[in-house]
């Protein structure tokens, strides 16, 4: 009877501690002005992405040959492209693709990577060796090239590009999780917990994974920015997401032949992307500093 009461009390204590930990982290995060700036900009982009169909003045695919290649004007705030499509609308709608590709690919890589890492760490032995060799092979292929190869296999399109980019992120997360297993294996408290008959699964979820969360989160957030740029790069070389879908990389690729006369067609999508990635990086930096203040000072 006494044990369960203590157990409940301990669990409650734990929950309260975690809550106050999270509050501490949020507090630290909010103190960082640059991180807050990044968050605000990011939030704006997310809102734009979510409400895009409602806020765009023109349909992103609506062509109007008479108005093609016009500079910024009152009617078309950022001008029109070679097909007379409104660039402002396309940029707004393109937020969906860039954010979607970035977040989707990183989430996919995170999920599969963590699962693989847990399997490797939990079973150890030849399973772990096999998974690690697997990671070795895929890490030997530079990221962009791997994405290109898988893109060729799956074809163009949003989902296929998410998969192509996501696969490249698996090894990173897998190694990180497995490294946590390695370092925790050596720590004394794991031996102590095992001595008290704690199940391996419980060890994994209660001790090992929570410690891995911080670096995983920071890495994933910072990775979204890089993934968005890689996605744009793929679209730039005719893989990735193809026109008429308004993905920024594809837009920039199309704008290439017109930069002599209509430089704004290249400028605006690029600026849109730069600000999004900047916001993500600022937020990611702030997150890293908030999760481990010792690193900052």
């Amino acid at each position: 009877m006494l044990d369960t009461k203590n157990g409940v009390a301990l669990a409650e204590e734990d929950a309260v501690k975690k809550q106050s930990q999270i509050k501490e982290i949020l507090k630290r995060l909010c103190k960082n002005k640059l991180a807050v700036l990044g968050m605000v900009i990011l939030l704006l982009y997310i809102l734009v992405a979510v409400f895009a169909p409602l806020i765009i003045p023109y349909d992103f695919a609506e062509m109007n040959i008479l108005e093609k290649n016009q500079g910024p004007s009152a009617q078309h705030w950022l001008g029109t492209d070679d097909f007379g499509r409104d660039i402002f609308s396309r940029i707004l709608y393109g937020t969906r693709y860039s954010l979607g590709l970035g977040i989707g690919a990183c989430a996919l890589g995170l999920a599969i990577g963590v699962i693989l890492g847990c399997i490797a760490g939990y079973f150890g032995g030849w399973v772990e060796e096999l998974i690690m060799r697997f990671c070795d092979v895929f890490q030997a292929i530079p990221g962009t090239l791997l994405a290109i190869v898988i893109s060729m296999l799956l074809g163009t399109g949003f989902v296929n590009t998410v998969i192509a980019l996501g696969i490249g992120r698996i090894t990173l997360n897998c190694r990180m999780v497995r490294a946590q297993f390695l370092s925790q294996r050596k720590l004394e408290y794991v031996e102590a917990a095992q001595a008290t008959n704690c199940s391996k699964v419980k060890l994994m979820f209660v001790h090992i994974l929570p410690n891995a969360i911080s670096p995983l989160i920071v890495n994933t957030t910072m990775g979204i920015g890089g993934t968005i740029m890689m996605a744009a790069g793929l679209s730039f070389i005719s893989l990735g997401v193809r026109p008429p879908l308004p993905e920024w990389g594809a837009m920039m690729s199309a704008a290439r032949e017109f930069i002599r006369y209509y430089p704004y067609q290249l400028l605006f999508p690029g600026l849109a992307m730069a600000f999004l990635v900047l916001a993500l990086n600022l937020f990611g930096d702030g997150l890293r500093d908030a999760l481990d203040p010792k690193l900052k000072n």
Binding site: A140, L153, G233, F236, L266, G270, M273, L278, L295
Partner: protein
């Protein structure tokens, strides 16, 4: 130490082989029939099938795989391009130098510009130099390379006419591609160098040094810097890999006849043989680079060197002890 290097080289071989297997397998299942591509539209089904037989495309998967591995690693023959029938290995050989110039120059610029920037930011922590460097750095990792490349081309080649618009026949042609290719790497390196230096500066052994009466300058260059540089070796290695991938885009933007451009053309033509060959070669280059990184660690960090020499060291220490007894 030599033993470790040899061991590492031997370890790369299976990885490289498996990379080739992986790439071959992935490309094998890509949509599109090479024979059709070669013969073009309008070829008869018979002709296509004959060509497939000739190219060995109707054989079972493992036979094709085996043949490919044998060709690539024993005969060093990467096959012929589907589009123009030229030897892929030959093309790569002529183009490799251009890509290598881009990738290596990026590394050099990172070391020469990125590391000092990061160190300066760390030593003037909180000052205007620190803020300036970090703002520049975070912008540097946020702008897409091809976009900034095109914008700079517009500015320097078209408007100012200081630099050529494409190609690298003159040295001026190299200026923009090298700068653009290095930007992200320099920014990343500056950030890494700064955080590495900050961590080292706070170390206890720096306090020990200060308590000895050493000047701040000696502490910075003699104690902090060597330790701060060590983790940056890994960053350089990873950056090389990013650079190899990035050249695909950069060469496209600046019309440089390197491996990247070769690959992009092949993508457009669905020339799987070329893509296979180039990715395998670039992966080998990256693996060798990471091998160099590991070996460099061994030379530069005595703790890691001890790990590499392992048992050998214990024997040596006992020998030395006997000698001095």
């Amino acid at each position: 130490m030599i033993r470790y290097v040899i061991k590492r080289i031997l370890m790369i071989i299976p990885v490289v082989l498996l990379v080739a297997v992986a790439i071959f397998t992935i490309m094998h299942f890509c949509p599109g029939d090479p024979a059709e591509i070669i013969l073009g539209v309008g070829a008869s089904a018979d002709d296509i099938n004959n060509l497939r037989d000739q190219m060995g495309l109707n054989d079972p998967f493992f036979v094709q795989l085996g043949r490919y591995m044998y060709q690539t690693f024993i005969q060093f023959d990467l096959g012929e391009s589907f589009t123009n029938g030229l030897s892929i290995a030959g093309e790569i050989a002529t183009r490799f130098s251009k890509t290598l110039v881009l990738a290596l120059s990026a590394i050099m610029i990172q070391v020469v510009v990125g590391i000092p920037l990061g160190m300066a930011a760390a030593t003037h922590r909180g000052g205007w130099l620190d803020h300036l460097c970090m703002v520049l750095a975070i912008i540097g990792i946020s702008v897409p390379a091809f976009w900034i490349g095109l914008q700079l081309l517009l500015l320097f080649a078209q408007n100012l006419r200081w630099l050529p618009a494409y190609g690298v026949d003159t040295w001026q042609g190299w200026v923009l591609p090298i700068i653009v290719n290095s930007l992200r790497g320099v920014a990343q390196m500056a950030r890494q160098a700064r955080s590495s230096m900050l961590e080292v500066i706070r170390s206890d052994y720096i306090s020990t040094g200060r308590a000895k009466g050493l000047s701040e300058r000696k502490l910075l260059f003699g104690y902090a810097l060597p330790n701060a540089l060590i983790p940056l070796i890994q960053t350089l290695g990873m950056s090389f890999g990013q650079s190899l991938g990035g050249t695909v885009i950069i060469e496209n933007v600046f019309s440089i006849p390197g491996i990247g451009q070769y690959m992009v053309k092949a993508i457009g033509n669905r020339d799987y043989a070329v893509i296979r060959g180039t990715v395998v070669i670039l992966s080998i280059a990256f693996s060798l680079c990471m091998l160099l990184v590991d070996v460099a660690f061994g030379f530069v960090d005595p703790r890691i060197k001890a790990q590499y020499t392992g048992k050998g060291k214990r024997r040596r220490v006992r020998k030395e002890a006997k000698a001095h007894a």
